[in-house]
């Protein structure tokens, strides 16, 4: 091979560096969640995430976030899985209204519902007390795990704990009569928001629609009780934490049916002496097989929940037969 003159080499290096720089810039610019708010009621928009697991391709956008534009500012319900999502959500809101964001509610302390907090002013962030302590205690490890699951989309994301604790009760903002409902079961604190002015119920992750529920912090009996309560709220439109928006209680019943089946299956398996690998191999009933990511979610739930059922089945004190 002929040796290249130094000048040519230098030029080539420059071109290479330039190209690399641009490629990196472009790949950052490529990271667009493609958020498109859908108007579901007067003043009310929802951004529906994909019914998938967290991945490098969806960047964690598997969650529903929402906002209500009131006369006195915008109320945001959940801030998404990353700083980038939060910023793009803020821009989506700005394209629809000039009103500033007045309140950002984190429905619970799972990463896809609060890791966009950085994009919003600190004094707008609010959550139930147990959600605040959940974000404070587990935010760091949940954030780290999201980096592993969603990669570069998470760049620059740090957990921000809301400073403002809210409690259950009515909250009127800019003509919207909101009812904050404090429940639990999906986690130790699950905030539900009913907008009495529009009839929209923001159910957070107490309700999943056509996507298998997640259970890392679940207590199934409490969750079932919460679902009973939600069904009585008299909503017109239901925004689940994951999956499409609905006009009836179908997603509540679907979530309840899955949780009941899960509870019965795990209890029976533990009472019959199943090893955890055998429980994971159980064939799912046909009615649930159409739920998105149900196989993966089922195995995760077995891993999360089965040890407690097992313990009960093995322990004389807990009243095993």
């Amino acid at each position: 091979m002929k040796r290249l003159p130094i000048a040519t080499l230098a030029t080539r290096c420059l071109i290479a560096a330039f190209t690399l720089g641009w490629t990196l810039l472009l790949s950052a610019a490529d990271r667009d969640y493609g958020l498109s708010p859908v108007k579901i009621a007067e003043d009310t928009w929802v951004l529906v995430g994909r019914s998938e697991d967290f991945s490098f391709s969806n960047g964690g956008n598997i969650v529903n976030t929402a906002f209500i534009v009131t006369r006195d500012g915008v109320v945001v319900i959940d801030s998404g899985p990353s700083r980038l999502y939060g910023e793009q959500l803020k821009r989506s809101i700005a394209r629809i209204t000039d009103q500033p964001v007045k309140l950002v509610l984190n429905t619970h302390h799972h990463p896809d519902h609060f890791l966009g907090n950085q994009a919003f002013p600190a004094d707008t962030l609010a959550a139930l007390p147990a959600t605040i302590s959940g974000i404070h205690d587990e935010g760091g490890s949940l954030n780290e795990n999201m980096y592993r699951l969603a990669g570069d989309w998470m760049a620059g994301t740090d957990p921000v704990t809301p400073a403002r604790a809210i409690s259950a009760g009515p909250l009127e903002i800019g003509g919207h009569r909101l009812e904050l409902i404090a429940l639990d079961g999906h986690t130790d604190a699950d905030l539900v928001i009913l907008d009495r002015s529009t009839g929209v119920l923001f159910a957070g992750d107490l309700v999943f629609n056509d996507r298998a529920p997640t259970t890392p912090h679940a207590r199934l009996p409490r969750w079932q009780a919460a679902l009973d309560q939600l069904e009585k709220t008299g909503f017109r439109t239901l925004v689940p934490g994951h999956g499409p928006v609905a006009g009836d209680a179908g997603p509540i019943r679907q979530t309840r049916a899955w949780l009941s089946w899960l509870d019965q299956t795990l209890r029976r398996a533990a009472d019959e002496g199943f090893d955890m690998t055998e429980v994971m191999a159980i064939t799912l009933p046909a009615e649930f097989r159409r739920l998105a990511v149900v196989e993966a979610e089922y195995r995760r739930s077995v891993g999360q929940l089965y040890p407690a059922y097992e313990q009960r089945a093995l322990s004389k004190e807990a009243g095993r037969p």
Partner: protein, 259 residues
């Protein structure tokens, strides 16, 4: 050319020999792990016959969400005459997980492990002729299970209950019985900063007359508060059982397993 031809003939011989021995056996790693050559050297005597054998079944989730508690079942029942089974994970910082001798029990064991990263999990069963039969499965995980402290090490609760055993016996439809037992133990790997290794070292499962059914030698990657599943063939079922043993600090474990 000549060398290649000889190699091909030798290879053909080796393959047909392998096939003659047992159709389920093969010489190349079905899990295609870059660590296999090291595993072969580390885990088995140099002269030992080691084959991959699908009759040794390892069941584990393909993707394990919680690297601190990955369920694994080993079943070498299709082999017959199993003397001991060694379970290990190629890419774990502590490779050995558990070794058991099914002295009367079915040659299988259910348990849970900690994994540091995605890895093959393998079970090698030694038959009476001295051959090792290796089965395995890949487990994908985000990992971190080995370098995190146990929940127990952060709470004083376990100290009061250390070594406590809860258990239950089931009759099996196919005959014989199943024993499941859970032992309260934090099981620390020694890889989390400032927390020394602390794990179950020896367990003996016997019937109430003292006849041994299963010896279990545990290593650091067993999950916290371990749960074991052991099947007892019809011929060895007893009116009651007993588990005894100790951890690496000499704390004794001793409990009756009643029906």
């Amino acid at each position: 050319m000549k060398i290649a031809a000889i190699a091909a003939v030798l290879l053909a011989c080796a393959c047909s020999l392998g096939q003659a021995a047992a159709p389920a056996e093969r010489r190349t790693d079905p899990l295609d792990s870059p660590r296999w050559a090291d595993m072969r050297k580390e885990m088995f005597p140099a002269g030992a016959r080691v084959v991959f054998d699908e009759r040794v079944r390892v069941t584990a989730p393909l993707t394990a969400e919680n690297a601190m508690n990955v369920p694994v079942s080993v079943d070498a029942g299709a082999l017959g005459d199993v003397q001991e089974v060694l379970v290990f994970a190629d890419f774990n910082p502590i490779v050995r997980i558990v070794r058991f001798e099914p002295a009367g029990a079915h040659p299988g064991l259910g348990f849970r492990i900690k994994l540091q990263q995605s890895t093959p999990v393998r079970a090698a069963a030694r038959t009476a002729d001295g051959s090792w039969h290796v089965g395995g499965a890949w487990v994908n995980t985000a990992g971190g299970g080995c370098t995190l402290p146990s929940t127990g090490s952060g709470s004083p609760e376990w100290q009061k209950r250390l070594g406590e055993v809860s258990s239950r016996v089931w009759e099996r439809k196919e005959g014989g019985e199943r024993i499941r037992l859970r032992i309260i133990h934090p099981i620390d790997t020694g890889l989390a900063a400032g927390i020394p290794a602390f794990f179950l070292q020896d367990l003996l499962l016997a019937d109430n007359t003292g006849r041994p059914l299963m010896r279990i030698e545990g290593f650091e990657p067993i999950a916290e508060n371990p749960v074991f599943t052991v099947d007892i063939p019809a011929g060895r079922s007893a009116t009651a059982y007993r588990v005894s043993g100790r951890d690496n600090n000499g704390n004794a474990i001793s409990a009756a397993i009643e029906k």
